[in-house]
């Protein structure tokens, strides 16, 4: 079998070499240890040897060509029956005889993976400072800034008594509202708690309308999530927490991709007529502690890779928790995904959020007995459900859609 002689690595700092000379011509025999070529490196010309008996084959680069380490240089043909042994006057590289080693070309195949697996030292950075208070031109010590932020005091209104006129802790303490004359030092509100009563009313109105007006049909499909779970676990293991993904992101992406071919599920009901949406904006149901939920949109979810989706989702959750959702985000979704997460139940039957026409639900993934190729195995299974508007789609298409979602989740690496 023809093999390939590649540019050898002669030092950790060698990246490439320039061919100066072939010391053998095609058809000439090469014994293990013979020089095959001379290569110019930054350290000067170096003769390079072959590590197997072979016959020089077709050169793949020319004199003067500079190629990187590992690049093919020439073909090597099998040597055929071994001819000479040593112990005679042979030059000492063959002083030791033995069977030739495995072909270099074979081994080189796996070297990228090998160098890729070189461990990198973990980055241990010192703990970063806490939250950064609002910037101001007033000189103030870090301790003063922290207390001012806690007490809602504007530094710009103070005259500092510290070095260089800086505001220091004592200045903030002096400016703090006194307990007798003022209400307890109010935390500068960093988040606006949603008005739960108002939200309840809005949900009540929307859901009543949905149940009154939309003829829902419901489909459910159990699907094997094991590959996705394993893929996710492996991927997350290699990343710091800030770069890890949640399963919910895979669900969103799988739904968004599947909707490409099921446009009748992605859009709005406008007085009984279906209006397909141009983009796929997935409303993502986020529960609010204490009751209520919102489902703001992740725009163009089908176009985002998983990391970007995760970033969006993280941002949405943060803004749900702290206030700061934009109104458009709540009205933009063209479809909704609701996922129960790790502490839910097996399946959820969604109620469509008008004027959307479909909601996809995911229950809690659990190990279940599952038949794989005639045997029963424990697999992680999740139930995906679809509630859709029967005025605009039918159960057959809905079923094909759920099957497509399931198929996407079998290939998490392609999401």
């Amino acid at each position: 079998m023809t093999q390939v002689f590649r540019m050898p690595s002669l030092g950790a700092d060698m990246e490439a070499g320039t061919l100066i000379e072939w010391t053998r011509q095609p058809g000439e025999r090469l014994a293990r240890g013979d020089t095959i070529a001379v290569i110019e490196t930054q350290k000067g010309a170096i003769e390079v040897e072959v590590f197997q008996d072979a016959v020089m084959g077709r050169p793949l680069i020319g004199i003067g060509d500079k190629v990187p380490v590992g690049a093919p240089m020439a073909e090597l043909e099998p040597a055929g029956p071994t001819v000479q042994a040593s112990g005679t006057t042979a030059a000492p590289p063959s002083e030791r005889q033995g069977p030739s080693g495995p072909a270099a070309g074979d081994k080189l195949k796996d070297h990228p993976a090998q160098s890729g697996s070189q461990p990198e030292p973990p980055a241990k950075s010192p703990p970063p400072p806490d939250a950064t208070p609002a910037a101001t031109h007033q000189r103030a010590s870090p301790a003063a800034r922290r207390l001012a932020a806690q007490q809602g005091i504007d530094l710009a209104t103070l005259i500092g008594s510290g070095p260089g006129g800086a505001v220091i802790l004592a200045d903030i303490q002096a400016a703090s509202p006194q307990p007798e004359t003022a209400p307890a030092p109010a935390r500068q509100p960093t988040h606006a708690r949603p008005d739960l009563a108002a939200m309840r009313e809005a949900i009540a109105a929307a859901m009543s309308r949905a149940k009154r007006e939309i003829p829902h049909y419901y489909l459910a499909h159990d699907l094997d999530l094991s590959d996705a779970v394993h893929w996710l676990r492996r991927r997350n293991a290699a990343r710091p927490p800030g770069q890890r993904l949640l399963m919910g992101v895979l669900f969103i992406k799988a739904v968004a991709l599947a909707l490409h071919d099921f446009r009748e599920l992605n859009g709005f009901d406008r007085d009984g007529r279906f209006e397909p949406a141009a983009g796929i904006h997935v409303g993502t149901a986020i529960a609010i502690r204490g009751g209520g939920l919102v489902a703001p949109a992740i725009h163009d979810a089908d176009q985002l890779d998983l990391d970007a989706l995760m970033t969006r989702l993280r941002d949405l959750v943060a803004r749900v928790r702290s206030g700061g959702l934009r109104a458009a985000e709540l009205s933009d979704p063209t479809v909704t995904v609701s996922s129960l997460g790790e502490r839910g139940v097996d399946r959820l039957y969604g109620v469509i959020y008008p004027p959307q026409v479909a909601i996809v639900g995911f229950g809690t993934p659990r190990p279940r007995a599952w038949v794989v190729e005639q045997s029963v195995q424990a697999r992680t299974v999740v139930t995906a459900t679809l509630a859709a508007d029967h005025r605009h789609s039918d159960g057959h298409r809905g079923a094909l859609f759920l099957a497509r979602v399931a198929a996407h989740l079998q290939e998490p690496q392609a999401l």
Partner: protein, 88 residues
């Protein structure tokens, strides 16, 4: 070596502070150290991940996914971080 390690109490305070950053709606709660955060305070997966990320960034401690259950409460988290920062 213990030169860099914070006390367990300090770590518990850091864990609480990080929690109220990622879930500011819990800021006014009094959270007992042994309370299960997910069960008693309805922390979802994203909250949990954000919290762990905040701890990782603040303390430089690597917290693999399989260890998440070991940070079920503030007290458990303090124990875990204490061991991890001492080992580092």
């Amino acid at each position: 070596m213990t030169s860099n390690s914070l006390s367990r109490e300090a770590l518990q305070a850091i864990a609480l502070e990080a929690l109220t950053q990622v879930a500011p709606d819990l800021a006014e709660e009094t959270i007992p150290p042994d309370a299960d955060l997910r069960e008693a305070y309805d922390l979802d997966s994203m909250d949990l991940l954000n919290w762990i990320n905040a701890l990782h960034k603040r303390l430089g401690v690597d917290i693999p996914e399989q260890d998440y259950p070991r940070l079920a409460s503030l007290g458990a988290a303090a124990d875990y971080l204490h061991r991890a920062t001492r080992a580092g």
